[in-house]
């Protein structure tokens, strides 16, 4: 939709549902594809767990395809599930609706963004079917091993498909991201100034910015790695002897790749975390019927996090070795970023203080998120220090830490968000009882999975190991714990189908939601029709009179006042 020009109107079934330029349809397409590939990622993690808990039970799992599972699991979860789902899914759905605009700034580019993302997923999936299989280099893809024979997928097309898929994904992200930023900056409703935007919009906005500035480093790293593999350039490759022979490489810098990767990789953590923060901010205020505590502080904390996120990356590289002063610098910045993060957690907790908390499913997810994020964040403080990180890095302690903070926490926020906004998309409520069963199994289950991992990490069990049997330093009891973790993981994995079932059945048989089931103040619940139709607002764009958290305003008839209600009308 060009400003001042008429809204694009789709022609026919294909235009409306497949090659749609409507941001809501694009959001759904993103969500479905991301969930589908995410399910694959979960399946791979269960295969790994089977091997770790019951070594040798499946003869088809050998060391090679174990590494392939690890790699594809990590990459799929981080990039193709969470990044795509939060920004492509939630971003597309919520940004225009919450800002009171009719669509994204450039709907055609937005549509392309989805199809290019789809292409990247196809390329990724293709790598499962090529001769030597997908790459098994670990999701960090460190050279030299990622492109040398001996690593699964390195001599075939596996690693190339992975790198190519990433490059295509980055193009898709850029097309979507430019749209989100332009829309937030340039196409808000009358009265919607930046400090009246719902916090989730701030979060999506800043996460997109992080993506636009961080993905370039990954793109460059991927291009150079492709060159090293295909043209035998030596950007990342030092002189290497293999079986007594010198390979055709020499003089390059493997650590350079690590810098490029983590210059992307750390901001990537926040690309996932910020939208999760945003979802929690919306949900907690709405389901506790109380305004969010310290809105301005929340915004500035987000901006601080987004800024500092670019100067902490080398905390992932302590074990690669670095100048002690450099280690000191990165440890310091890492600890500093905890301050704005803590501000956010405090503000959420204070929002709950004396609030009228409703124990809805989204609220349960908020509470679970707060605890989980706190735990993951605390172990992060340990690992930020060089002296603590060096012995713990590459053990299961790290696996436990990053799953708490960047896997479980965002997924909890994601589920909370799905339960919260499902009525807006479908016009029906999800089943509450099934929701609670799914919540408790997932919440308790993830703790049973990841808490023991911290412990076996302390015992020294290394990460990314196919088998723990031949090592003297690993006590017998670790095997029992591993079995326990695997059983829990299987249960949690199976429980996700409750959610899927709930999604499908409730779309047809769920309770009618009405226009604003949660009594929320933000604009996406104030549309003419619900679920919102094409163009969102009928003939008249909404006008915004207040900030998005006017819950329990004294003197008002309801316990909430939507953003588009002027002062005269609140009583």
């Amino acid at each position: 939709m060009y400003e001042g020009q008429a809204l694009y109107h789709p022609k026919g079934w294909w235009g409306r549902y497949v090659f749609s330029q409507d941001h809501k349809v694009i959001a759904l397409q993103y969500i479905c594809v991301a969930l589908a590939i995410g399910l694959t990622g979960m399946f791979l993690s269960l295969l790994m767990r089977m091997q770790l808990g019951f070594p040798g039970l499946f003869e088809s799992i050998d060391a090679g395809n174990y590494y392939q599972d690890v790699t594809m699991h990590g990459m799929i979860m981080v990039i193709y599930l969470l990044t795509a789902l939060f920004l492509g899914g939630f971003g597309n759905y919520l940004i225009p609706l919450m800002l009171g605009s009719r669509d994204m700034a450039f709907p055609f580019v937005n549509m392309l963004s989805f199809w290019v993302y789809f292409l990247s997923v196809i390329i990724l999936v293709c790598s499962f079917f090529v001769e030597s299989g997908p790459t098994g280099a670990g999701w960090t893809l460190y050279p030299p091993q990622s492109i040398l024979p001996g690593t699964p997928g390195a001599d075939g097309a596996g690693i190339l498909l992975m790198l190519g898929s990433l490059a295509v994904f980055i193009i898709a992200f850029t097309m979507g991201g430019l749209n989100y930023i332009t829309t937030v900056l340039q196409s808000r409703a009358k009265g919607m100034n930046m400090m009246r935007m719902p916090l989730i919009i701030w979060c999506l906005f800043l996460a997109t910015f992080l993506g636009l500035l961080a993905f370039p480093a990954l793109l460059v790293g991927a291009i150079m790695l492709i060159f090293d593999r295909v043209l035998e350039t030596s950007f990342f490759m030092p002189e290497i002897f293999k079986g007594g022979e010198v390979l055709n490489y020499g003089g390059g810098s493997p650590v350079l790749f690590q810098h490029l990767f983590w210059f992307f990789g750390h901001p990537e953590v926040y690309i996932i975390a910020l939208p999760a923060f945003g979802i929690i901010s919306e949900l907690i205020s709405c389901h506790a019927r109380k305004n969010i505590f310290g809105y301005n502080m929340m915004v500035w904390a987000l901006i601080a996090i987004a800024g500092i996120a670019f100067i902490v990356w080398a905390h992932h590289m302590y074990v690669a070795g670095m100048n002690p002063y450099l280690g000191f610098f990165f440890a310091t910045t890492t600890l500093i970023i905890a301050i704005p993060t803590a501000i956010k957690v405090y503000n959420w907790v204070i929002t709950l203080w004396n609030a009228n908390i409703r124990m809805t499913v989204p609220m349960l997810y908020c509470l679970a998120f707060l605890i989980t994020f706190l735990i993951g964040g605390l172990t992060g403080l340990f690992l930020g220090n060089v002296a603590v990180d060096v012995p713990l890095s590459d053990t299961y302690f790290v696996v436990g830490h990053f799953h708490m903070v960047m896997a479980v926490s965002p997924v909890l926020a994601l589920y909370g968000g799905l339960y919260h906004w499902y009525p807006s998309v479908t016009g029906r409520m999800l089943d509450d009882r099934l929701g609670k069963i799914h919540f408790w199994i997932t919440f308790v289950g993830t703790y049973l999975i990841y808490f023991p991992m911290h412990y076996i990490g302390f015992l020294g069990v290394p990460r990314r190991y196919y088998s723990n049997e031949q090592y003297d330093f690993i006590p017998e009891s670790v095997n029992d714990l591993n079995q326990f973790i695997t059983v829990c993981a299987l249960i949690v994995g199976a429980a996700q189908f409750i959610l899927l079932y709930n999604f499908i059945v409730s779309a047809v048989r769920g309770k009618e939601a009405g226009s604003n089931p949660w009594g929320a103040c933000t604009l996406e619940w104030q549309t003419l029709e619900s679920p919102p139709g094409h163009g969102n607002w009928g003939d008249k764009l909404p006008v915004v009179y207040r900030w998005p958290y006017d819950y329990g305003l004294p003197g008002a008839t309801d316990d909430f006042v939507p953003q588009n209600i002027p002062d005269e009308q609140i009583t």
Partner: protein, 228 residues
């Protein structure tokens, strides 16, 4: 002299006030077209791509085990019995910078709604781009076929020289080539009178932003590869 106390509002310099009011306004933060805002954001992102390429180049150049080739020797042009360093590249740079000049003129005449003049100036700019890419192809073929420089190695020094050179100048050349296509499209639309009908030539400025950016990036590549 007045002895009135100055309020905080008044004490803020005007430009800062403008900034604050822009960012706290509703509807639009920047009073520009969406397409222009989007182009700016894209260019910031693209800056990070080139920035990563060039930082990687610098990092490797500082850490290679073999010495870096002597660039004034590698890039010299053999004219009339003498090796003249940097001759070709000076001409290329001159052409690209001049094309930025014609682009700027096109933007100005676009705002004056001079249809033919704008169209011709844009085409001239694109022509500059074509000349640049053509000379780059000449330089590449000279390096490849006469000097024997390959992405994976060369006779002058560190292996990474060829890799970085072809990768970064190639990526930039790709930007120029895309720019040529983009500018030609815009020029055709200008000449067809499409923007007269819309009464809006801002797209010319948006294309100009891209072109100036590509030009600016070249200055850095030029400095880092040919002068260092």
């Amino acid at each position: 002299m007045s002895s009135q106390p100055v309020s905080f509002e008044e004490s803020v310099p005007d430009n800062l006030k403008g900034l604050v009011s822009d960012w706290s306004s509703d509807v639009q933060t920047f009073k520009v077209r969406w397409s222009k805002a989007m182009m700016w954001i894209f260019l910031v992102s693209d800056t990070f791509i080139f920035g990563s390429f060039l930082s990687a180049y610098m990092a490797v150049r500082l850490t290679t085990t073999e010495p870096w080739p002597n660039t004034s020797e590698v890039f010299a042009l053999h004219v009339g019995g003498a090796d003249i360093p940097l001759l070709l590249i000076a001409i290329m740079t001159f052409i690209l910078i001049s094309s930025s000049g014609t682009m700027a003129m096109a933007v100005t005449s676009g705002y004056k709604k001079q249809r033919v003049r704008t169209g011709v100036l844009i085409l001239l700019t694109a022509l500059g781009g074509v000349a640049f890419v053509g000379m780059q192809m000449f330089e590449w073929s000279k390096l490849i076929f006469e000097e024997g420089i390959r992405p994976w190695g060369n006779d002058f020094g560190a292996d990474q020289f060829g890799g970085f050179f072809f990768m970064i100048t190639g990526f930039h050349g790709l930007h120029v080539s895309i720019g040529v296509i983009y500018l030609t499209t815009i020029a055709v639309r200008v000449l067809q009178g499409r923007y007269d009908r819309l009464d809006d030539y801002q797209i010319v400025e948006v294309a100009g932003l891209y072109w100036h950016f590509v030009d600016l990036v070249w200055i850095f590549i030029f400095a880092f590869f040919y002068l260092w």
